[in-house]
């Protein structure tokens, strides 16, 4: 895996750049995940609000609901849940696609055609997933906050303007930037693991299933490990 990452970084900076493949992957990876991540974000915001409300009422701080929900979503739940959904959808799909291409000799055919298959298949996918996940997370966070606004209004009444005014008052750059930065690492991990498992798959069609399955498991685990490291680093930097 270390050698694979090293090769990825080397091929990333070396010309020739597979711009068309990269744009195609951005569309495939980003656009295809939009509905799923948006829906998950909405449900996440709504449910979190409805779950928190009784506890906050008990402590007499229900007015702090937008603050608590926004901090939870933007700092932790939004990035991690989006990344896990992304891993389930993208990492498995990359693992299966590349695994199948390996088994049917399509990767060899690319090499014979004078194309660097690593650059064409791996670099374009990893770069696309690295850049698409932060965008999807921002979108998911926004939809989750809207879901939260609707959740607040189920049993109470708050205007949209007041709700988002509370949200933006509660958030500062120290909440948003580290959370956003870690999503780049989540995206890179999802892409790299999916590509690694698929590109190196063997054992015929059984290997394709194995590549897809192990890509999801390893990506999900990697997301939690990166999250743990990110929390430690932001803590050391005094951003918590």
């Amino acid at each position: 895996m270390t050698r694979f990452i090293g090769r990825y970084l080397r091929e990333l900076v070396n010309p020739r750049y597979e711009v068309r493949a990269f744009i195609h992957q951005c569309y495939t990876i980003g656009f295809s995940s939009l509905a799923l991540i948006g829906t998950t974000g909405f449900i996440m915001g709504l449910v979190l609000t409805m779950q928190l409300r009784p506890s906050l009422i008990a402590y007499g701080v229900v007015s702090q609901l937008p603050v608590m929900v926004s901090l939870a979503i933007v700092r932790e739940i939004g990035p991690v849940i989006s990344a896990l959904i992304f891993a389930g959808k993208i990492s498995s799909s990359i693992g299966a696609e590349l695994g199948s291409m390996r088994v049917t000799e399509q990767i060899d055919a690319m090499e014979v055609s004078g194309t660097n298959p690593f650059k064409f298949l791996v670099v374009s996918r990893v770069l696309a997933s690295t850049l698409m996940l932060p965008l999807l997370t921002v979108l998911s966070d926004a939809i989750a906050l809207y879901g939260s606004y609707l959740g607040v209004n189920i049993k109470g009444h708050t205007s949209l303007q007041l709700f988002f005014s509370d949200v933006f008052d509660a958030l500062n750059y120290g909440d948003v930037i580290p959370a956003l930065i870690k999503t780049f690492f989540f995206g890179a991990a999802v892409g790299l693991i999916g590509c690694y498992k698929g590109y190196n798959s063997s054992k015929g069609t059984a290997g394709v299933g194995l590549a897809a399955n192990s890509a999801v498991v390893a990506s999900s685990l990697a997301i939690f490990i990166i999250d743990l490291l990110a929390v430690q680093i932001t803590d050391l930097l005094g951003l918590n």
Partner: protein, 257 residues
């Protein structure tokens, strides 16, 4: 002059000798020796069929020639170029002179037939405009009798048609050499005969030299100028169909019975 000849970016410098010269080739996987001091020369316009039992290293042999596998020892000269001394770019340029037909066809299943054929052209002939690409793709597909499939997906085609498309993709850069890995495997006898005829027709039309791996003896008889029997990783016998068919050696006879 064809489009590919006109626009070929780099012409390889090569001698008038054999188009492929393999000397003392060794290749193993772990402790298993697959190819052991294998030597062979392929002359211009010639077609050599490699016969051998499953697992005898036939596919490994042609994958070493195209550079998909690295030999453990020995040398491979293709069009006068020593494969071991070429860098990545030079290997890619050399590969534009070699067509490779995979056993599994290896068509890109997420791309249309047009995009499958366009793929190697975009790499090697990137100065061509859309109209020229289309013209050449249609011409190549017409040569394999499948021009009407240009906008179809590989999954929409039968096994025989996929084989023809794979052959068209191997031909699209007007290669001087074609390597066939079991071109008729998995096909019915009639389609197999059609593919064999297509291969001989292509050899005449494109003046290619070829190495063919096949177990299909009717295909072997139809396409081979010389036949090499691969046994124990070595060239066990080499000769024409008539010569080998007359052999009393049990290791050779078993293929011709």
């Amino acid at each position: 002059m064809s489009i590919t000849e006109k626009y070929r970016l780099t012409q390889m410098v090569h001698t008038d000798g054999p188009v492929i010269k393999v000397c003392d080739l060794k290749k193993g996987f772990g402790t298993k020796v697959v190819l052991d001091d294998l030597s062979i020369e392929l002359n211009r316009g010639e077609s050599i069929v490699v016969l051998g039992r499953s697992g005898s290293g036939k596919s490994v042999f042609i994958k070493c020639i195209i550079g998909l596998l690295k030999p453990d020892a020995g040398s491979i000269h293709v069009l006068g170029q020593d494969m071991a001394t070429l860098d990545h770019d030079q290997t890619d340029r050399l590969r534009s002179h070699i067509g490779f037909l995979f056993q599994s066809n290896a068509l890109y299943d997420s791309m249309t037939i047009r995009e499958n054929l366009e793929f190697p052209m975009r790499r090697h002939l990137n100065t061509l405009v859309r109209e020229q690409l289309d013209e050449h793709i249609i011409k190549t597909l017409t040569n394999v009798g499948l021009a009407h499939t240009v906008d179809m997906m590989p999954a929409e085609l039968s096994g025989g048609m996929q084989k023809r498309i794979a052959l068209a993709r191997a031909l699209v850069l007007n290669p001087e050499i074609i390597l066939y890995d079991e071109p008729t495997s998995g096909l019915d006898p009639i389609t197999s005969k059609e593919i064999s005829s297509l291969m001989t027709g292509i050899q005449e039309q494109y003046n290619t030299s070829s190495i063919i791996i096949s177990h299909d003896m009717s295909c072997v008889k139809r396409t081979a100028d010389r036949i090499m029997v691969l046994l124990g990783g070595k060239c066990y016998a080499m000769g024409s169909w008539a010569e080998l068919a007359r052999s009393n050696d049990d290791n050779i006879k078993q293929f011709f019975e």
